[in-house]
């Protein structure tokens, strides 16, 4: 949690990411491992670090290939990093990327490593469609053993009724409640009284700021080109709509409930992409001649009841991270929140601003505070850029670390909600 032991601090040296694209489009042939390889290679090229220096990879992802779930290790092997470069992969839903980065930072602070690559990727296009378990149970003995004709015959009746064999379309639904995430967010919008106009306005701002960042070249340092399907090169995030307007957003139909307020326009979309961050111990970074961008003052992970308000986790995690860093919201220069849904961000902002919430749920005397819209998601967020689940946390760390260095501001607060009723937050501070 940012406890600096023996004076060792883990610093963010650099970050790199692929452009994010809509699922089932340009990156359809690139699985999570391939995307991870691209980001890691680009990152190492950018900082000109010899491959043998990388001691380990901590990687995050949600849709992990069933045959090779340790994506981090596969990246190390595919890239032919030193065989001694160990690696592991973690999963914490949409906060997997941030989880990977904070785990790497913790390991460096404990003295377990000096140079780590931490990041995440997800290829929704390559999500495996699961065969119904009935089919698996019927055929596994045949596939794994030495089946006789009698075995085949006895397997056949297990397939009935045939309708149960049709693979089901995977939905982003909670296992414990069966609720689709959009429905949970729709309920949150109602319970926190977030109107449609506010959600659309927030989404519009995300697109406008992302478009401005792309146009001004702000992302050129972070985003590298990728060659996708059919040899086509992708240079920038393809989901950003520079020409979005309130009128266009207002025309969209509700996506999750008949009289709902959430639409495809004010929700994040299924996306492919990856992002990687280079972490070093401060001492090593300076010894190798790198200028560190930022370090973690703190991080925090929380859980809430998924059947109550699934995506309110950051409302508990962000105050926790602030407390651990010994800071107040008023002290924070930049706030970056993952935009799963505009309604979700606006609900969390309302909770942070509510004194009653702070007293009842956080045990504080006053509200955490109002987040200044000018400081929030200054270059857009997941609604405009897209949300490859495992990559988002690493994207946010990269963008905020760079932003602190560029603007010479001091602190940034990150907040991410995740499936399963989880929340994640971190405080980054610039290093001089």
């Amino acid at each position: 949690m940012g406890n600096v032991k023996n004076g060792r601090r883990a610093v963010v040296v650099a970050g790199a990411r692929t452009p994010f694209v809509k699922a089932f489009s340009e990156y359809i042939e690139l699985d999570a491992i391939a995307l991870g390889v691209l980001a890691t290679r680009a990152l190492l090229k950018k900082v000109d670090l010899p491959y043998r220096e990388v001691e380990g990879i901590v990687w995050g992802g949600v849709i992990l290939p069933s045959g090779a779930p340790n994506v981090g290790r596969e990246i190390a092997l595919d890239l032919r990093l030193d065989p001694g470069c160990e690696a592991y992969t973690v999963t914490r839903a949409c906060a997997s990327g941030l989880q990977a980065v904070t785990l790497g930072a913790a390991a460096i602070e404990r003295g377990e490593a000096d140079i780590l690559i931490c990041g995440g990727a997800d290829s929704t296009s390559n999500a495996e469609v699961k065969l119904p378990q009935k089919l698996v149970h019927a055929f596994a003995p045949l596939a794994l053993g030495k089946p006789t004709p009698a075995d085949y015959l006895s397997a056949a009746p297990k397939l009935l009724p045939l309708t149960e064999l049709i693979p089901r379309q995977p939905k982003v639904a909670e296992r414990s409640t069966g609720e689709v995430m959009g429905e949970s967010a729709e309920r949150m919008a109602r319970r926190n009284e977030i109107p449609r106009e506010a959600q659309d306005a927030f989404a519009l701002r995300s697109h406008q700021r992302a478009a401005a960042a792309i146009a001004s070249g702000r992302f050129e340092d972070e985003v590298f080109p990728v060659q996708g399907a059919g040899g086509k090169w992708v240079h920038t995030d393809t989901l950003v709509r520079a020409d979005s307007t309130m009128e266009k957003l207002a025309k969209l139909r509700p996506a999750f409930a008949r009289e709902g307020t959430l639409t495809a326009g004010n929700s994040s979309a299924l996306t492919d992409g990856s992002a990687a961050v280079l972490l070093m111990s401060e001492e090593k970074a300076r010894a190798l001649g790198y200028k560190p961008l930022a370090a973690f003052a703190s991080w925090a992970y929380t859980g809430v009841d998924p059947s109550d308000q699934l995506l309110m986790g950051p409302a508990l995690a962000m105050p926790k991270a602030l407390a651990r860093a010994g800071l107040r919201l008023a002290d924070i220069d930049l706030v970056d929140m993952h935009e799963a849904f505009a309604a979700q961000v606006l609900s969390v902002l309302k909770m942070l601003a509510s004194p009653a919430f702070a007293r009842s749920r956080l045990g504080l005397d006053e509200a955490v505070g109002e987040v200044d819209p000018e400081r929030l998601n200054v270059h857009g967020g997941s609604i405009a850029l897209g949300h490859p689940f495992g990559a988002t946390g690493a994207r946010m760390v990269t963008t905020m670390a760079n932003e602190l260095a560029r603007t010479q501001k001091k602190t940034a607060l990150l907040g991410i909600c995740a499936a399963g009723g989880l929340g994640a937050a971190a405080v980054l501070e610039r290093i001089d």
């Binding site: 319970r191 109550d308 509510s354 009653a356 009842s360 749920r361």
Partner: protein
């Protein structure tokens, strides 16, 4: 063995035939019960209509209880009271809505009225105003709750309010009982408001399905400062609870319900029942203890077992027998057995385990409606069960300083093996003499026992809580 009228009531054709023929058959509503472990939000998304009399001061506790239990609040109160509901709504994502937003004929699960501001006879009109307008809105198996103040040292003009609320609630219980709904009263003594929320939560939840027309008195008498907040999920985690007579019936249901809430249950019953008791202890992950409660060695052996477990949080004296005979025909041993099991051993065991009770501990005894009202052939039983009442009241005063609460549950007609053996006509009489028009189940008593054992019930001590479905006879 099922209640035949409740079963008929479940059959649509039978119900419509009874209605169309105009038969005077009181078909009781099948009660909604919660058999599962306590959940964080037992009122998930259910609408609750809340009102308050002028000058009422318990609104913020009520608002917090409703919001944190997951209810959607509709408020029929002044602006001053709305502020409390708005704050609770912000904290729990349950935005304040006004009662006027409820459509014509829209039903609510609960009506909650804060009557703590009522100061005298004239002020009772506020009760009429709120409930006259809204009592029809109570849904099937819903809840009607009045929250009021009581003060043992109040002036007579104010003292009348608490009992007036009681009379009101007893009648209201009989009016809504037909729908399977309950009506109860919570009286809060001075300085006891912090103990209100868990009691309100229990009364509003499905776990209080068979409790109706009863007053719950919340007091600051047995003070105990626990670490951290009162838990609403797995409230008995890691706590040792002794249940006597655990092998079957109410005892078994109680042991299972306690086990679900994380308690380590010491299941005690006679050696003759060792199979059932051992199986039960295995099922709930507890400890079996085989002995006869009337054995002179029993108190010491129980104390040794509990000492070996590091002490005990709650003792539930459930073991009890009947030996019915009219007094003239009752032989001495029938008298002795009943007094011994139901009363003398309760006293002896309690004395022996007293040093092992943890702070914030619980003694809970089983009394009985028969003990309160009396029955032909039950002079022995009624003496023992009424004796429990006096014992509990006095013991609660003695243990109050230690933060240990002492209460009793008085079950009404509960469907068990024992009551199944009663002749049909008498049994029907027993079943139907309640506002809910049906017998209770062992789980109803068990849930009440679990509640009294839980940390949230710290505000209740010296109480005799009837679990009787709103018995028609007596108060």
């Amino acid at each position: 063995m099922n209640d035949w009228l409740v079963e008929i009531g479940q059959n649509k054709q039978a119900r419509s035939m009874i209605r169309s023929l105009g038969l005077p058959v009181p078909v009781p509503e099948k009660l909604v019960r919660d058999k599962g472990p306590w959940s964080a939000a037992p009122l998930r998304d259910q609408p609750a209509l809340a009102g308050a009399a002028e000058g009422s001061a318990l609104v913020s506790e009520i608002a917090t209880a409703l919001a944190s239990a997951g209810a959607d609040p509709y408020v029929a109160a002044s602006d001053a009271h709305e502020a409390a509901f708005r704050a609770a709504g912000e904290a729990y994502g349950r935005p304040l809505r006004r009662a006027t937003e409820l459509g014509e004929g829209k039903r609510v699960h609960a009506l909650v009225f804060d009557a703590s501001g009522i100061e005298g006879a004239a002020g009772l009109k506020a009760l009429y105003d709120f409930f006259h307008a809204h009592i029809d809105r109570v849904a099937r198996c819903g809840r009607l709750v009045v929250v009021g103040r009581t003060d043992p040292r109040a002036e007579p003009e104010r003292a009348l309010v608490a009992t007036a609320l009681e009379g009101f609630v007893r009648s209201a219980a009989k009016e809504v009982g037909r729908k399977g709904a309950t009506a109860n009263l919570i009286l809060v003594e001075p300085d006891a408001a912090q103990h209100l929320e868990p009691v309100l939560r229990f009364v509003l939840s499905a776990r209080s399905a068979f409790i109706s027309g009863q007053p719950f008195v919340v007091r600051a008498r047995a003070a105990h400062r626990p670490n951290g907040k009162v838990p609403f999920v797995r409230p008995l985690d890691g706590k040792v609870v002794l249940v006597t007579g655990a092998a079957r019936g109410i005892g078994e249901a109680t042991a299972r319900a306690l086990g679900q809430e994380g308690a380590h249950v010491v299941c005690l019953d006679r050696p003759a029942d060792d199979a059932a008791t051992s199986k039960l202890a295995r099922d709930v992950g507890g400890t079996p203890l085989l002995l006869d409660v009337t054995d002179p060695e029993a108190p010491r052996r129980i104390a040794d077992t509990l000492k070996g477990l590091g002490g005990v949080h709650a003792v539930i004296h459930n073991a009890g027998i009947t030996r019915d005979k009219t007094l003239l025909r009752m032989k001495a041993d029938l008298w002795d057995q009943v007094i011994d099991v139901n009363l003398a051993s309760v006293v002896a065991i309690t004395q022996a385990v007293e040093p092992l009770l943890k702070a914030g501990g619980r003694i809970i005894c089983l009394s009985s409606i028969a003990g309160i009202a009396g029955n032909v052939g039950q002079t022995n039983y009624a003496a023992s069960k009424a004796g429990i009442i006096g014992y509990v009241r006095a013991l609660s005063e003695k243990y109050a300083e230690r933060g240990v609460t002492v209460n009793a549950i008085a079950p009404g007609f509960i469907e068990t093996r024992l009551t199944a053996a009663i002749p049909f006509v008498v049994r029907e009489g027993g079943r139907r003499m309640s506002a809910l028009g049906q017998g209770g189940l062992p789980i109803d008593v068990a849930q009440a026992l679990v509640f009294l054992a839980s940390p949230g019930a710290q505000g209740m001590t010296g109480q005799i809580l009837r679990v009787c479905g709103g018995g028609l006879i007596g108060a």
